[in-house]
């Protein structure tokens, strides 16, 4: 029997967003430590590669006021992960931390500390904030345009890696200096080389610059490409860029963020998926989704009525602190066509048009589809984004993981103790 490529699995804590069905009676706190502990223990029980936390440095605003419809309020990532290191043994611990509003020495030190205290389980998801809105909370203020953001991020990661490598393997600190366009720093780093050599680096971002950055530096890519075809295109594109940097395709793992809805039968699962979508898109959320595209106040519209006839305003967005819609007119036309064709109300159109679940079915069909994604070259694994905090992965771990294991598609035990070993990544060679 040939050795199968095994998939990697990660658990996304569904803290702050609109995917959580917070009206569900089983939905618990997004901030109490008990919630983090529950999801992390579930992920470790399921032998997942890592546990993942997103980041947002300012509550979003809408029409100049704090957005109040979605789950908001989260703890600071690295601090929570250090606490989780106390209640888990093998699970990787991944923190999303912005490279724009942090400084390399300090962040490299915090990440190296997490790696030491967890025995080699730390990862950093490098994101690059794009808005001055977030900058209003920081001394440096402002923001960087896309090209500059990634230039700073690349210099940031390279600097962090030099810091992580600045002690000899024998544990002797050596002086360090870096002078570049964004950073001019010197001194001695505070920690020896960490238990997995260096924390794992994750990249999230879809643009050309983002892909290039990932190909050059990342160990894992977190993508939104949830369909088979889009996944294959993305996978081939990003893996194809690796050779330029002297890297091989196995050096970078591509993991889309996906959702899973299970049922005892296909019909049962579809019904649950529809129910989840319905609860995610409240009448108020439906109007808001529409306003984000139309760019004007639509609060007088009936969410159960038809879409507006007026065309979207191309200029100012009402929302602050989130990615803008690139071509509002095109989206509006698509949504109107969908609404006309199927006779859908505003709320139904939003439900139909946006964010459908990636995998819906019985544990058997979902296990088969996940496996197919990996064997078809659309992903190396998945970052699962549950709908419920914190019990949203219990069912997946209890019902799907055993089937994946039966198929030989997923590990049956942890064979190493570090995140790099789970991901099949070699420990980085010390560059003395």
């Amino acid at each position: 029997m040939t050795v199968r490529t095994r998939m990697h699995l990660a658990a996304h804590f569904p803290g702050v967003n609109s995917t959580t069905v917070w009206t569900d009676p089983r939905s618990k706190s997004q901030i109490d430590f008990a919630s983090f502990e529950h999801l992390a223990r579930t992920a470790e029980r399921g032998l997942f590669d890592f546990f993942f936390l997103a980041e947002g440095l300012r509550p979003r605003e809408y029409k100049g006021r704090i957005h109040d419809l979605d789950v908001v309020g989260r703890p600071e990532s690295i601090t929570v992960l250090n606490a989780l290191a106390a209640v888990t043994e093998r699970l990787g611990l991944a923190a999303t931390v912005d490279a724009t509003f942090n400084e390399p020495y300090e962040l490299a030190r915090r990440l190296a500390t997490l790696d030491h205290l967890s025995g080699g389980r730390a990862a950093w998801n490098v994101v690059t904030s794009s808005d001055a809105f977030t900058g209003e909370n920081f001394r440096r203020g402002g923001f960087l345009d896309r090209a500059d953001r990634y230039a700073r991020a690349a210099e940031f990661v390279a600097t962090a890696r030099d810091l992580w490598d600045s002690w000899t393997p024998e544990g002797v600190a050596r002086p360090f200096a870096h002078q570049g366009r964004h950073f001019d720093i010197a001194g001695e780093f505070g920690l020896p080389r960490s238990p997995q050599g260096q924390p794992v680096v994750i990249q999230a971002g879809d643009s050309d610059e983002g892909r290039e950055f990932a190909a050059a530096t990342a160990d894992v890519v977190f993508t939104r490409r949830g369909t088979l075809d889009a996944g294959r295109e993305f996978y081939a594109d990003v893996k194809g860029r690796l050779a330029t940097y002297g890297r091989s395709p196995e050096d970078l793992k591509i993991m889309p963020g996906v959702t899973v809805v299970l049922g005892d039968t296909a019909a049962d699962a579809r019904e649950r998926a529809a129910e989840i979508r319905h609860r995610q898109v409240s009448p108020q959320n439906a109007l808001l989704a529409l306003e984000r595209i139309w760019g004007v106040d639509l609060s007088s519209y009936d969410p159960d009525g038809p879409l507006p006839d007026i065309d979207p305003e191309p200029a100012p967005a009402l929302a602050r602190g989130r990615v803008r819609v690139a071509d509002p007119l095109a989206v509006a036309e698509r949504w109107r066509a969908l609404s006309r064709a199927k006779g859908l109300s505003i709320r139904q159109t939003v439900i139909e048009a946006s964010g459908r679940q990636s995998f819906v079915g019985t544990p058997e069909t979902v296990a088969a589809e996940l496996d197919e994604f990996v064997t078809a070259g659309a992903a190396d694994g998945f970052i699962l984004v549950p709908h419920l905090t914190p019990g949203g992965l219990d069912e997946f771990v209890d019902r799907v993981v055993p089937l994946l294991q039966e198929r030989g598609a997923f590990r049956t035990e942890y064979t190493g103790t570090t995140l790099r070993s789970h991901l099949g990544l070699p420990e980085p060679v010390w560059k003395g």
Binding site: W22, D32, F33, V80, F101, N102, L117, L191, P192
Partner: protein, 359 residues
């Protein structure tokens, strides 16, 4: 929770600082030992200037491995963003369920400044003024969510009541913060702020913002004078002086044996050294010293830094603390679960909720 007559309750804290320890076990064991002794809190110092792990990270690693003891890391304010500092400290309070503190400190050296490359070293005066502003903005950001901001109101589809979230619009001399925080108000409202008030520039910040002030002095008379000065200054800032705990800081070398190892230095009291006031002697004499300084209202308690972390902490807990407990001078169990409760400090009211204004 102040005792009805005379002096208040005795408060005890210990430092977990160790050289060249980067693994979790080196800190978890000693913290658990300190908790067995019923100490109010443990501290872990930090600076970018010398090797060592991030102190706040270490104490968040310790949090789930302990249940009651307060956890007070040093977080310096000179190079770290105020917004990040307050979020991390608030998070330590969440993961420890109300046991977080924060010892404020500044980075005065050019060496530390070079690690960041953003600003040059500045005089302690200016940096402490800035630290005071950061203590202030942190408190505002902790209050930027009212306690009942999360409403989960299904009928209106609102998860939070946006009128209970507030921009802080804080303008300091060197920075601006918009707010609100990303972290909901922590369990203690405000995690406990600790300041070493020995030196001049820090003393003002301690009087104004600290819940606990540490003073490094060798004798009870000096301690009493500093305590009185701090309490007066706190009152001038409009605070109730009884909301400030003043602890004497001693480095302790508990050596061998029960009694003072060196005649005249132990029983004779601490002496000044380069590391700060050093007490050298036996655990029994230390208990006597603690009881005497506390009885004369020179201090509200002590912050003790063992010279040999494992040996001295063990002697402190099993010798000194046991004796103080035996004499009824120190708690034998934690009556509360938060650090504020151990210190007898109330949970602060929310500065925005009082006015009830919109953001």
């Amino acid at each position: 929770m102040t005792a009805p007559h005379g002096r208040g309750l005795l408060h005890l804290a210990a430092a977990l600082d160790q050289q060249a320890a980067f693994d979790a076990a080196s800190y978890v064991g000693p913290a658990q030992l300190a908790e067995r002794g019923g100490l109010d809190f443990v501290t872990l110092g930090d600076t970018f200037a010398r090797p060592g792990p991030d102190a706040l990270a270490v104490l968040s690693r310790v949090a789930p491995a302990t249940r009651r003891i307060g956890l007070v890391p040093t977080v310096t304010t000179t190079h770290t963003e105020p917004f990040h500092v307050q979020a991390a400290v608030a998070t330590l309070d969440w993961v420890s369920r109300g046991r977080a503190g924060w010892q404020l400190d500044v980075s005065t050296t050019e060496g530390e400044a070079r690690l960041f490359g953003r600003r040059h070293a500045a005089p302690a005066d200016a940096l402490w003024r800035e630290a005071g502003e950061i203590a202030e903005v942190a408190a505002r950001l902790w209050d930027s969510w009212e306690d009942d901001a999360e409403i989960r109101d299904e009928a209106t589809g609102r998860f939070v009541d946006r009128d209970k979230l507030h921009h802080v619009d804080f303008q300091g001399a060197t920075f601006f913060v918009k707010g609100p925080s990303i972290v909901p108000r922590p369990p203690q409202g405000h995690p406990v702020r600790v300041v070493d008030a020995t030196e001049g520039p820090a003393r003002r910040v301690a009087a104004r913002h600290a819940d606990v002030a540490l003073v490094r002095v060798v004798g009870p008379a000096h301690a009493r004078a500093v305590r009185a000065e701090l309490r007066d200054a706190a009152a001038k800032f409009g605070r109730d002086a009884d909301t400030l705990r003043v602890l004497g800081s001693l480095v302790v070398d508990l050596g061998d044996g029960e009694r003072a190892a060196e005649p005249g230095h132990g029983g004779g009291g601490p002496r000044q050294t380069a590391q700060g006031p050093l007490y050298r002697g036996g655990p029994v004499d230390l208990a006597e010293l603690i009881a005497a300084w506390h009885a004369s209202e020179a201090v509200d308690g002590f912050h003790l830094t063992p010279v040999e972390p494992h040996r001295d902490l063990e002697r402190l807990v099993n010798g000194t603390v046991a004796l103080l407990q035996h004499r009824g001078l120190f708690r034998t169990f934690y009556p509360g679960s938060t650090l504020r409760e151990h210190l007898g400090l109330a949970r602060p009211a929310n500065q925005y909720a009082v006015t009830g204004g919109a953001s």
